[in-house]
Symmetry: C2
Subunit: 341 residues, 2 copies
């Protein structure tokens, strides 16, 4: 993560996704999104698709953050044009207590098979990043029964049943730890924890209910394998207020959303952590020259030296023109060489 | 705003709203939401409703932030269960150029009539706050044609047509200035600018496309009337990263959403501005004792002294039990006296 490089490395959250016609074809072949996640050969195929088109410097496992609650018996499903839904929801202390322990190696064997297969197919060309949702983010979906606009039910549960919420998060933290360690053992060379919804919390609730459990996970992950470090990246969307706390979590890198200036973030925490990010994904709707201009702004704001992995500030959206992704990736490589010795 | 007080004053964004059965009755009587906004007697009635139930220390004009684009000919309408929509949208330089200038006093006379009437009915009991949406926030709705999940169209327009976007924002800033000054002349004793969507921007875009225009407005507002100052409050949701810049806008008070710790915000900008906020509206779903506990946390975090107006970090939501609002308001008054000399 902080090794000397000639140009700034770049990958993209959700780089294997619907903006690619070849992804849409494979998904169609799979029948639905869940089948695609659960069939290692197809998950491998879509993971590799963006690398054939673009000069990305890393692959990221194609999967979904909700595989864990699904494997714990919550019954994940997707309705066409809707977000994820669960057949069972968590609404009481009893629901939390009855939640089984995850054995990621067997319950989520299809993910580990995909990781092994992708790693083999990559054949050393670029590193493979594994990932998981954060306990807090998983909990919001499990309590709400899907996505939410204001997370009313999840927050109500947290405020009225803090002990049950902590038990749920503790169970999820154990599950995530096991899940990520199994991915590392299967071949993942770095892992990212996606805390998509930590940013909807107050500062004290974020520290207590979200970051606290990510810290626990970080301290129990395998940090070296095959004689090389396995970096851990933490991403809290809308977490800019809490960068110092996130940087002190023990993670190697902090992924930034697009709202914070990366130069400011470097001043605040760059001595502790590498930084990943942070272009607004919406800029990919703009012209290639506007994209290149923004890439230049971000590189200039970060300044000289290593410790920056270029990325978007959130996942790429389905309507983006793939040619704009080429413009983005090429601009990062072209414009960044002057910032490296 | 910064006058000595015995207890911390409190009001609530969207305090006249759907959580009140009497509001729902008046809205039913009006036929629809727009009629309610456009009938001064009914707007006055719903503005006063929460003051009859709760010990709020201010009234806020009942209206909608989208009255301005509606008066500029965009054709605002609401579909049942949907958010606001516009019949006309802004998608080109020509659309922006053709947008007429607003004469708020005549084009939005119904708002000024409501302000005069409310002020008269309040009869000095509590001050009346007027408001407007920010230019950036209005622009997002006008370009998207309504609300949006990712503001794709608005951002695409901004990135690809920066000059047209600036012209649009300039026109809107003039309209907002005129609108707020007319409200002040009609009797509003303070005004708040709601920048609901500034927080979706990158730091540099926020400063250029949102805060820059709010500053322009602030510098052209009537700041004293009837021998008393007319305070200006700026609210950028998810603006915690930019507090210093917001505090230097010339506004008297900064309204905070719930993600930032108010004590931290006071350290950062409390010498420049009063602070308003910042309880998570979702806490109103929790038990009265959990609500009281959170009120205590926020008061303790702010600490001793004046310069704090208690509020939620965003508007109250329709499903809240009115009894929980009583618990909230009473807790602020009861627990805050010890922080005032």
């Amino acid at each position: 993560m902080r090794e000397p490089v000639d140009v700034t490395p770049v990958w993209m959250m959700r780089q294997a996704g619907r903006y690619l016609p070849e992804y849409r074809a494979t998904r169609k072949q799979a029948g639905n999104f869940l089948n695609l996640c659960q069939t290692p050969e197809l998950a491998c195929e879509v993971t590799l698709q963006p690398l054939k088109r673009f000069a990305f410097d890393a692959a990221i496992l194609f999967s979904d953050i909700l595989t864990i609650p699904d494997a714990m018996g919550q019954g994940l499903y997707f309705e066409e044009g809707e977000g994820p839904r669960f057949r069972k929801v968590i609404r009481s202390a009893q629901d939390v207590e009855q939640l089984p322990e995850l054995d990621a190696g067997s319950d989520l064997a299809y993910v580990m098979d995909a990781v092994s297969l992708i790693r083999k197919e990559l054949n050393g060309s670029v590193p493979l990043i594994g990932f998981s949702g954060s306990p807090w983010t998983l909990a919001t979906y499990m309590i709400e029964g899907g996505g939410s606009k204001d997370f009313r039910v999840a927050k109500e549960f947290m405020y009225n049943n803090p002990e049950s919420m902590h038990l749920l998060l503790d169970k999820l933290a154990k599950a995530v730890t096991d899940y990520l360690n199994c991915q590392i053992n299967a071949g993942a060379q770095a892992v990212q924890i996606f805390d998509t919804w930590g940013g909807i919390l107050t500062t004290s609730s974020y520290l207590e209910y979200s970051l606290g459990y990510m810290k626990k996970i970080v301290s129990n992950l395998i940090r070296e394998r095959e004689g090389r470090p396995v970096p851990v990246i933490l991403f809290t969307k809308n977490g800019g207020l809490w960068l110092e706390a996130i940087a002190n979590s023990g993670a190697n890198a902090v992924a930034l959303d697009w709202t914070i200036d990366i130069g400011t973030a470097r001043q605040r925490i760059g001595q502790h952590c590498a930084l990943q990010g942070n272009m607004d994904p919406s800029i990919l709707y703009a012209s290639p020259s506007a994209i290149k201009n923004e890439v230049g702004n971000i590189l200039a704001s970060y300044g000289s030296g290593d410790g920056h992995v270029f990325n978007l500030g959130h996942g790429i959206t389905p309507e983006v023109n793939p040619d704009h992704v080429s413009a983005f990736v090429d601009a990062v490589h072209e414009l960044s060489s002057r910032y490296h010795a």
